[in-house]
C-alpha cells in the first residue's frame, strides 16, 4: 500500500459506504459515526483512509480478533466499553502478533512457540455489604498462597507426609481456580496460570500420588510453582484498580513469570483454552490436537481423499486401513508433536509415565512406541508435517512442538492459509474467491513479508478491503469478482477451481494439448445450457458432463499411482481438497 494508491468509486455515496464498511471491519466499530469525520475522510485517497484506520487504537482490536480467528477461536467480542475483555486473552500469540503489527515489527511472531505471559482484565470481585473489593481480592489470593505454602511444607518430608500431601493435592486444581476467580481474576487468567504447562506441577504430583512415580523433583516443582504464583499475585495486587483493565492493545503489559519462565513450564503458543478444549485420551491419543494444527495453520480440514498407499505400508490396525490412512498418514505424525503432553496439557517429558485427560495413566515408552521411527530412517520419531505418501523428500520431520512452529513459520502452506483466512474474515466465509486471485495475494504477501511481515499483513488487508468483492453491495456468494492481474475470467471454468486446474493440470490438459481429449482450461456449453469441460472421445464426440466429472473425480482420488492425477506432480492438500469437493458437488447438480 502506497500513499498514492487510490481506487475510483462510482459515486460519492459509494465511497462513503466503503469508508463505513471498512471502518467497521478494521476498526471494530459500526463505522464512522461522526458526519464531519466522514466528510473529511471522503476527501482522502483510499490508501490514506486505510492508513488512518490502521493508526487508530481500535485497529489493535481488529488484529487480535483476526489472529484469534486464524487460530480458530471466536470471542463474542474483544472490547467491553473502553477495555479489552478477558476473552481476548485466550491465545497469547494473538496478542504478541497484534502488538508486533502495531509497531511494524515481526507479525510472524504469531508462530513463536514460546510466548510472553499476558493476563486478562481483572474483575471486580463479589463483595458483601461493607467489604472492600481490594480486601476481598487479597483474601482469596492469600488463601491460594496458604494452600501452596502448605504444599511446600509437606513436600519437604514427602515420605512422612505423603498421605496428607496427596489429600491436599487431590482438591487443589479446582480449589485454586475457584479461589483465583473469586478473587476477581478473570476466568481466562485463572485458567492460564493453572492449565497447560503450568499444570506440570500437578502432573508431577499426580504421578507421585496416584501413578506410582518417585518423588524426584517434587519439592523443587512445588516450590517453583508457589514462588511463581507469589510473583503473579504481587503483580495483580499492585495494579491500580483504576488501571486494572487494558484499554489498548499496545498497553497490554507482559507479566513477570518468576520460575514459570523455566523451559518445561514456560508460557507457550498453546493457551489454556487449547488444552481444555482439545483433550487427549487413552484411545484417541493426541489426534484432536493434530487435527487442530492441520486445520488452523495449514488450512487442511482433513477431507478424506484417498492417497497412494506406499509399498511398505503397515496393515491391521486403525489408521493403517486404506480408507483411514487417507487422513491418518498426516494426522498421526502431526499428533506426535504432542506426545509428551498429558492431562490438561501437563508436560510429561521428564517423567516415565503419562496421564491422559480421561485420567488413564500408562507407561510412556509403550505409548510413544507408535511414533518411533523404524531403523534406517535417519530420525528418531515419525513425527512431522507430511505432504506426500510417496515422495518423502517433501515431508518435514521433527520432534518437539518448538520444531513444529518452526515448520509452520517456514511453510508456504501456512502463509497461504493466513491469506485465505484474511479473505474469509474480510469478505465472508461463504464468499467464493478466485483461487488465482488468492495465489496472487499469497505470492505478494510472501514476497513483502521477506522485508517486513507486518507491512505485508497491512497491505494484504488493504488489498482485500479495496477488492471488488468487498465493494459489491450485494455479492453472489458463488461468483468471484477479483482476479489476478492479466487473468481473463471469460470462458474459464467456475472461479473456485479454474486457477487450480490451470496450475496443476494445464500442462497436459489445455487447448494446445488435451491429453485424453480433456481440456481443463475451458468451460463450454455442451448442449441445452449444460456446461462442462471440452472432453472428446476418439471419434471427437463430446462426453457427457456426468462422464467427464466422474473421470476427473476418479483420477484425482485413486490410490493407483499410475492413474493418479496430477501425474508426477505435487499438489497441495488444500488445492486437492478444493478440487475434489467441487467436482463431487458438481456431480450432484
Amino acid at each position: 500500500m502506497s500513499v498514492a494508491d487510490d481506487r475510483p468509486f462510482p459515486s460519492a455515496w459509494e465511497k462513503k459506504r466503503w469508508i463505513t464498511k471498512t471502518a467497521r471491519v478494521i476498526n471494530g466499530t459500526r463505522g464512522v459515526v461522526s458526519k464531519s469525520q466522514l466528510e473529511s475522510l471522503a476527501k482522502l485517497k483510499t490508501s490514506q483512509i486505510v492508513e488512518r484506520f490502521m493508526a487508530h487504537e481500535r485497529f489493535g482490536d481488529f488484529l487480535i480478533d483476526f489472529n484469534l480467528y486464524y487460530l480458530g477461536f471466536r470471542p463474542k467480542s474483544i472490547r467491553s466499553n473502553d477495555y479489552i475483555r478477558d476473552d481476548a486473552f485466550r491465545f497469547p500469540a494473538s496478542i504478541t502478533a497484534a502488538k508486533e503489527v502495531l509497531k511494524n515489527g515481526d507479525y510472524f511472531r504469531i508462530f513463536d512457540f514460546y510466548q510472553p505471559l499476558y493476563l486478562g482484565a481483572l474483575q471486580e470481585p463479589d463483595t458483601k455489604p461493607g467489604e472492600n473489593a481490594d480486601e476481598v481480592r487479597k483474601r482469596h489470593l492469600d488463601a491460594v498462597m496458604t494452600k501452596l505454602n502448605l504444599a511446600v511444607e509437606l513436600a519437604k518430608d514427602l515420605p512422612k507426609n505423603k498421605k496428607k500431601f496427596c489429600a491436599v493435592l487431590n482438591n487443589e486444581p479446582p480449589d485454586l481456580v475457584e479461589e483465583i476467580i473469586e478473587g476477581g481474576i478473570g476466568q481466562s487468567t485463572a485458567f492460564t496460570i493453572t492449565i497447560g504447562p503450568w499444570s506440570s506441577y500437578f502432573a508431577y504430583n499426580f504421578g507421585y500420588c496416584f501413578g506410582g512415580a518417585k518423588d524426584d523433583g517434587i519439592l523443587q516443582m512445588v516450590t517453583t510453582y508457589r514462588d511463581s504464583m507469589l510473583t503473579l499475585i504481587e503483580q495483580m495486587l499492585a495494579r491500580d484498580p483504576e488501571k486494572m483493565t487494558d484499554k489498548s492493545v499496545q498497553g497490554i503489559p507482559e507479566w513477570k513469570m518468576g520460575g514459570f519462565g523455566q523451559p518445561n513450564i514456560r508460557t507457550n503458543q498453546l493457551g489454556a483454552f487449547f488444552w481444555r478444549n482439545l483433550p487427549n485420551s487413552s484411545t484417541n491419543l493426541d489426534r484432536k490436537r493434530g487435527a487442530y494444527m492441520l486445520k488452523h495453520f495449514f488450512c487442511d480440514d482433513l477431507t478424506p481423499i484417498n492417497v497412494v498407499i506406499p509399498d511398505n505400508h503397515a496393515k491391521g490396525k486403525h489408521g493403517t486401513d486404506a480408507s483411514c490412512f487417507a487422513c491418518h498418514y498426516k494426522l498421526d505424525p502431526m499428533a506426535g508433536f504432542f506426545r509428551n503432553y498429558g492431562i490438561l496439557g501437563s508436560d510429561y517429558k521428564y517423567l516415565d509415565f503419562i496421564t491422559f485427560d480421561d485420567q488413564v495413566t500408562v507407561d510412556k515408552d509403550k505409548y510413544q512406541a507408535a511414533w518411533k521411527a523404524g531403523e534406517g530412517r535417519g530420525r528418531t520419531w515419525d513425527v512431522g508435517y507430511i505432504r506426500s505418501t510417496t515422495d518423502d523428500s517433501i515431508n518435514t520431520y521433527a520432534a518437539e512442538p518448538e520444531d513444529l512452529f518452526e515448520i509452520i513459520r517456514n511453510s508456504p502452506e501456512a502463509k497461504k492459509c493466513i491469506v485465505k483466512r484474511a479473505a474469509q474474515y474480510t469478505l465472508g466465509e461463504n464468499q467464493s474467491v478466485d483461487a488465482g486471485y488468492l495465489e496472487y495475494l499469497t505470492e505478494k504477501f510472501i514476497e513483502e513479508s521477506k522485508i517486513n511481515s507486518s507491512l505485508a499483513l497491512k497491505d494484504l488487508v488493504y488489498n482485500l478491503v479495496i477488492s471488488d468483492t468487498f465493494l459489491n453491495p450485494d455479492p453472489d456468494s458463488k461468483s468471484c469478482y477479483d482476479f489476478a492481474p492479466g487473468q481473463d475470467p471469460n470462458g474459464r471454468p467456475p472461479c473456485l477451481v479454474a486457477y487450480l486446474f490451470e496450475k496443476n493440470c494445464a500442462t497436459c490438459h489445455s487447448s494446445s494439448g488435451a491429453k485424453g481429449g480433456l481440456d481443463l482450461t475451458k468451460w463450454i456449453d455442451v448442449g441445452g445450457g449444460v456446461f462442462s469441460f471440452p472432453h472428446l472421445d476418439d471419434n471427437k464426440k463430446q462426453y457427457s458432463r456426468a462422464q467427464t466429472l466422474t473421470v476427473i473425480a476418479e483420477r484425482l482420488t485413486t490410490s493407483d499411482e499410475e492413474e493418479r492425477m496430477p501425474s508426477n506432480k505435487y499438489i497441495s492438500t488444500e488445492d486437492l481438497q478444493t478440487l475434489v469437493k467441487w467436482v463431487e458437488a458438481e456431480k450432484l447438480k
Binding site: 455515496w13 459506504r17 464498511k21 463505522g31 459515526v33 471466536r74 453491495p473 456468494s477
Partner: protein, 198 residues
C-alpha cells in the same frame, strides 16, 4: 387506516423491499448480523448513553434472541442461525414492528415516554419533526436523509434510500404521523442491508 388499508400498506412495504432487489439473493449471500450486533448497531445509531433497550426483549427472551443469529464463541467459529428462513424472518419482523411502533409513539409528545428518553437528542428532534407530517418541515428531503443515516448509515447503496424516500413521498397512504414514523423506521430495519452482513 382500516384493516384493508393496513394490509395494502404492508403489501406496499413488502413490495418496496423486494423492488430494491436485495431480497432476491437471500438464498446465497449474506447472513444476519445477529441479535447482539444489531442491538449494538441500534445503540450506535439511534440511542443515547443512558438507554437500556434490548432488542431480544421484543421477541420474548434471550433464547429466542439466539434464533436471530449469534456467535457461540470459543473454538466453534461458526455463526449460528444466520441464514434467513421463514421463522427467523418472522421474529425479526416481530421485533422491529414493536420497536418501530415504540418509536412512532414518540409522536404523542409524552415526555415520560420510555423510547423518547432513550433516543439520541438529534434523532429525537428529527423524529418529532417527522411527527408534524404533512408539514413542509416533515417533507424536507434532508430530514429523511438524516433519519436513514441514523439507522442505516451508508451500509446500503444510494438506490435504497432513493427508493425509500420516493415511496413515502409519493405512494404511501398516511394514516397518522405516528404510523408514518413507525412504518418509515420499520422499512429501514427490514431492509436486507440493515439485517444482513454481505
Amino acid at each position: 387506516m382500516g384493516g384493508s388499508g393496513e394490509v395494502k400498506m404492508r403489501l406496499a412495504l413488502a413490495l418496496l423491499l423486494i423492488c430494491t432487489g436485495a431480497l432476491g439473493k437471500l438464498d446465497n449471500s449474506g447472513e444476519f448480523f445477529g441479535a447482539r450486533n444489531t442491538n449494538k448497531k441500534i445503540y450506535q445509531g439511534l440511542l443515547n448513553g443512558t438507554a437500556t433497550f434490548q432488542l431480544s426483549e421484543y421477541v420474548g427472551s434471550d433464547a429466542l434472541g439466539n434464533l436471530l443469529g449469534y456467535q457461540p464463541g470459543g473454538l466453534d467459529t461458526t455463526f449460528r442461525n444466520g441464514i434467513p428462513n421463514p421463522t427467523n424472518m418472522m421474529l425479526w419482523s416481530l421485533a422491529f414492528e414493536k420497536f418501530s411502533h415504540d418509536i412512532g409513539k414518540v409522536c404523542h409528545g409524552n415526555s415520560d415516554d420510555s423510547m423518547a428518553k432513550q433516543l439520541r437528542e438529534d434523532v429525537l428532534a428529527d423524529v418529532l419533526t417527522l411527527c408534524s407530517w404533512p408539514s413542509d418541515k416533515a417533507r424536507d428531503e434532508e430530514l429523511w436523509d438524516r433519519l436513514w443515516l441514523y439507522a442505516l448509515a451508508y451500509d446500503a447503496p444510494e438506490s435504497e434510500v432513493v427508493a425509500w424516500k420516493t415511496f413515502f413521498m409519493t405512494s404511501y397512504e398516511v394514516s397518522t404521523p405516528e404510523q408514518l414514523v413507525s412504518d418509515a423506521f420499520f422499512s429501514i430495519f427490514m431492509n436486507p442491508h440493515y439485517l444482513l452482513r454481505k
